[in-house]
């Protein structure tokens, strides 16, 4: 198998997962936002109160509202704004999942250097996801 066929197979595997993850992320974001602004779901901060806080630096915002940082938002998925945040987080995970998908493909094709690069990228993404860089 030549380099061109390798590339085609790897790119198709990445594109398939990227397509699915992106469509899912956007559909979920749309539904979650409608639930949020329609008031169909309870929110942590009432929408009418938000203008008092959204002009504050993030540290002051968290202090005055008591809103969660780090992974604290995961415990508040029953509040509409954090369900919306989960949809944004899903978009932030799609790339790592696509990389994870192509690692076995690259190894099977004997592309060890590319596979190592993909694993290193996954490590960086997972470190960011874990909050390692944010101190959270």
């Amino acid at each position: 198998m030549d380099l061109r066929q390798h590339d085609a197979e790897v790119q198709e595997a990445y594109a398939t997962w990227l397509d699915f993850g992106t469509r899912l992320g956007f559909a979920a974001s749309l539904v979650a936002f409608v639930l949020y602004v329609s008031g169909a779901m309870p929110s942590y901060l009432p929408l009418e109160a938000l203008p008092r806080y959204w002009g504050l630096p993030v540290g002051e915002f968290l202090r005055q509202t008591g809103a969660p940082a780090g992974w604290g938002w995961l415990q508040r998925l029953g509040d509409a704004e954090y369900l919306n945040l989960a949809c944004m987080a899903l978009l932030g995970l799609v790339t790592a999942l696509c990389y994870a998908r192509i690692v076995p493909v690259l190894l099977r094709l004997g592309e060890r250097l590319q596979a190592a690069l993909a694993l290193a990228q996954i490590a960086v993404l997972l470190a960011a996801v874990s909050g390692f860089f944010a101190g959270g």
């Binding site: 380099l3 061109r4 590339d7 790897v10 790119q11 198709e12 990445y14 594109a15 398939t16 990227l18 397509d19 992106t22 992320g25 956007f26 974001s29 979650a32 936002f33 949020y36 602004v37 929408l47 009418e48 109160a49 938000l50 203008p51 008092r52 959204w54 002009g55 630096p57 993030v58 915002f61 968290l62 809103a67 940082a69 992974w71 704004e81 954090y82 919306n84 945040l85 949809c87 944004m88 987080a89 978009l91 932030g92 995970l93 799609v94 790339t95 250097l113 590319q114 690069l117 290193a120 990228q121 960086v124 993404l125 470190a127 960011a128 909050g131 860089f133 944010a134 101190g135 959270g136």
Partner: protein, 285 residues
């Protein structure tokens, strides 16, 4: 304050409209759109810049993720080219995001204003290079940074390879740092780095730039999520607007002259950069 509380819904609606318009212009200009979104929303909307930058990253992330499958399948984006450069850029972007959240809003607004104006002038002055017809350097050959694509306009398969790989790594580390610092997609700088510096053909540079933005911003976005700097009322309308606008922009791309697009992008960047600069200097709050 009572009036502002009663009319909170105006801002997400306006954000959706602005993001929709930027989505159209961004596709036409071959940029991620964060470079327009952050100064415009930071300058004219009531949200703090911390939240605007977080939304700017997600904004550019959403647009580029959505375009990725098409770009990969028609080989306008090359994973072989993207993977090493995106790795350098994503490490640097996380560092930029951490530094950005530690700086004062005034300092950031001033630096953002200078940066955006400089980039606008750079785009106005730059020309496109043909690219592709070079010999690989040793590092580029080891990483097999080459590929091909079918150009419908030329009706031919174009083979390409890149050079100046080490300089390319340095450029993408610097671009990633600025992207994380300001919450920009940084596509404005990716394309010249890939095309002018590394000699990738322009179409491959534009396509691969989008994929690089999606990877780099995936890392930086998590810094903002963990710091609590992603506000749903700001980020979600921006994401929905840019998605819709990008689809329209992709259709308009075929019929809009490139020179017109370039002029539109430069004018908007100069206005938005000037506003950020004046705000940062305390001359127009």
């Amino acid at each position: 304050m009572e009036a502002a509380a009663a009319h909170w819904w105006i801002w997400p609606l306006a954000l959706f409209a602005v993001s929709f318009a930027i989505g159209i212009v961004a596709v036409l200009g071959g940029i991620g759109g964060g470079v327009l979104f952050v100064p415009i929303v930071g300058g004219f909307f009531p949200f703090h810049l911390d939240f605007v930058r977080g939304a700017g990253l997600v904004f550019a992330l959403a647009g580029t993720l959505a375009a990725g499958p098409t770009l990969l399948r028609n080989r306008m984006a090359s994973l072989r080219l993207v993977m090493p450069l995106a790795l350098a850029g994503s490490v640097a972007s996380v560092a930029g995001a951490v530094v950005g959240l530690s700086m004062s809003a005034e300092t950031l607004q001033t630096a953002l204003g200078f940066t955006v104006i400089a980039i606008g002038l750079l785009i106005a002055a730059s020309k496109d290079a043909y690219g592709g017809a070079v010999e690989s350097d040793a590092l580029g050959a080891a990483l097999r940074m080459k590929g091909d694509y079918v150009d419908p306009a030329a009706g031919a398969r174009i083979d390409w390879r890149t050079h100046r790989t080490l300089a390319g790594f340095g450029a993408f580390a610097a671009i990633g740092f600025l992207g994380g610092l300001f919450g920009l997609g940084a596509g404005f700088a990716n394309v010249p780095a890939l095309n002018l510096l590394m000699a990738a053909p322009l179409k491959v540079a534009v396509g691969s730039s989008g994929l690089i933005i999606s990877i780099i911003n995936s890392s930086a976005a998590w810094v903002y999520i963990h710091r609590g700097a992603l506000l749903a009322i700001l980020a979600v309308p921006a994401v929905l607007g840019v998605m819709l606008g990008s689809r329209i922009g992709a259709r308009l791309l075929a019929v809009t002259p490139a020179a017109t697009v370039r002029r539109v992008v430069v004018v908007v960047m100069l206005l938005a950069g000037g506003r950020a600069l004046l705000r940062g200097l305390g001359l127009w709050t």
